[in-house]
Symmetry: C2
Subunit: 246 residues, 2 copies
């Protein structure tokens, strides 16, 4: 029971032309949202922005005052189109330079003859940031204040999330119950609305789906109050069973 | 050849708590981006916002002056949590009421005894909007100025895109070429940067990937100028073949 805790919130910024062109189908938002949900942090907004410094700065500075945490993915590799670190430094108005710790980490991966300027670029970290470990390919992410900057490759991003999780503090637990029914949401909308008014601390939502057998609806109740949630769930089940629709 | 055309741009707003919680893994952004790309409209930003009127209004009014087109998905069903139509009306400061044409369409789907208040709610359309046909489940989307409001269920959204496409006018065609190589991007980053400076009208990007055989890189060149693009592609192939990396 976390009745006395408040919700802890987050925003996600996906950086990359390839997501906006549809070339890459994003898998990071869903992963991050579920990962954070498990530790009681709630993603309330996401933005996808192109590889343009001004657009990254704008998104970061719009969101970091509004949410407890901001997570970015993408644009921290070795090539000229990897501009996230510079954009974050600019967003925070801090310098960016080769970071000793990041250089040492990268030297464990690359022999000196292979540690070229492009790869050294991955050690450029905004002043005041702390590194985020990358167990997959070493090149680190970083945290500056409440902003966590991660790689865009899902396998690396997921590993980074695991490594930074201990720095995050969750709040109230949002619990959910799903009641599935095989009728269209139009049949139960009125009863659902009444139920919503009866449970102000429960958020009721209805998600229609279509499959080969026709249409159906998932009714989802979410709340930080387990007692209210249990009552709302029982009421949802009663609605579904009592109103077959035809 | 569309050398004289300018880029036509779009933004996408995905509306729904379920996408932000990770419960629903979004498939709409990738579909919309590819669909629009095929008709020479380029998605340059996307936002995911919760089912809250103020947040929908804010996103719509932030994006509609910046892009040629804005597409929203989600929140136009019959239940109390479907608030997109009201939010769009508020964003445009217009009234919203039962739309005669939408009512007539819904009456073709529902018998009078089943056409309850919840279902009639799906005929509430902002003043001045034109309907978007829904061949799957009839309840229409709508267009108001440069904003297209569609369902969130992928099957319905995709059908709506097909029905509204004739209203859209594309611009310059963005063409792309992909050169795949089996070496990490750090080996070719320096040459790629030089190449980028030689082709200012081509956008060069590098996307690393990891699979069971190790890591590799997709080098992607994009341009509206086919001649430059062909030259850049040839140069990319030369880089990949000439620099095996080891």
């Amino acid at each position: 029971m976390n009745k006395n805790k408040t919700l802890v919130t987050a925003a996600v910024i996906l950086i990359g032309d390839e997501v906006l062109s549809g070339r890459t189908k994003d898998k990071n938002l869903g992963y991050i949202a579920e990962f954070l949900g498990e530790i009681d942090i709630h993603v309330l907004e996401a933005r996808v922005v192109p590889d343009q410094q001004s657009r990254i700065i704008e998104a970061v500075n719009a969101l970091r005052p509004l949410y407890d945490y901001v997570f970015t993915t993408g644009g921290i590799g070795p090539t000229h189109d990897d501009i996230t670190a510079d954009a974050i430094a600019a967003a925070f108005s801090v310098n960016i330079d080769y970071n000793d710790e990041a250089m040492a980490i990268l030297r464990t991966r690359y022999e000196e003859k292979d540690f070229n300027d492009a790869r050294k670029r991955m050690a450029r970290i905004p002043a005041g940031a702390s590194l985020i470990e990358n167990p997959v390919s070493q090149a680190p992410g970083f945290q500056i204040e409440n902003v966590f900057v991660m790689a865009g490759v899902p396998k690396i991003m997921q590993a980074m999330m695991g490594c930074l999780a201990h720095r995050l503090e969750g709040g109230a637990r949002m619990m959910s119950r799903t009641v599935r029914c095989d009728i269209g949401e139009g049949w139960i909308a009125a009863k659902l609305e009444v139920l919503q008014s009866e449970f102000p601390d429960v958020s009721l939502a209805s998600y229609p789906f279509f499959n080969k057998d026709g249409m159906g609806t998932n009714l989802v109740a979410r709340s930080t109050n387990e007692e209210s949630l249990n009552k709302a769930e029982a009421a949802l089940i009663a609605i579904v069973n009592g109103d077959s629709g035809k």
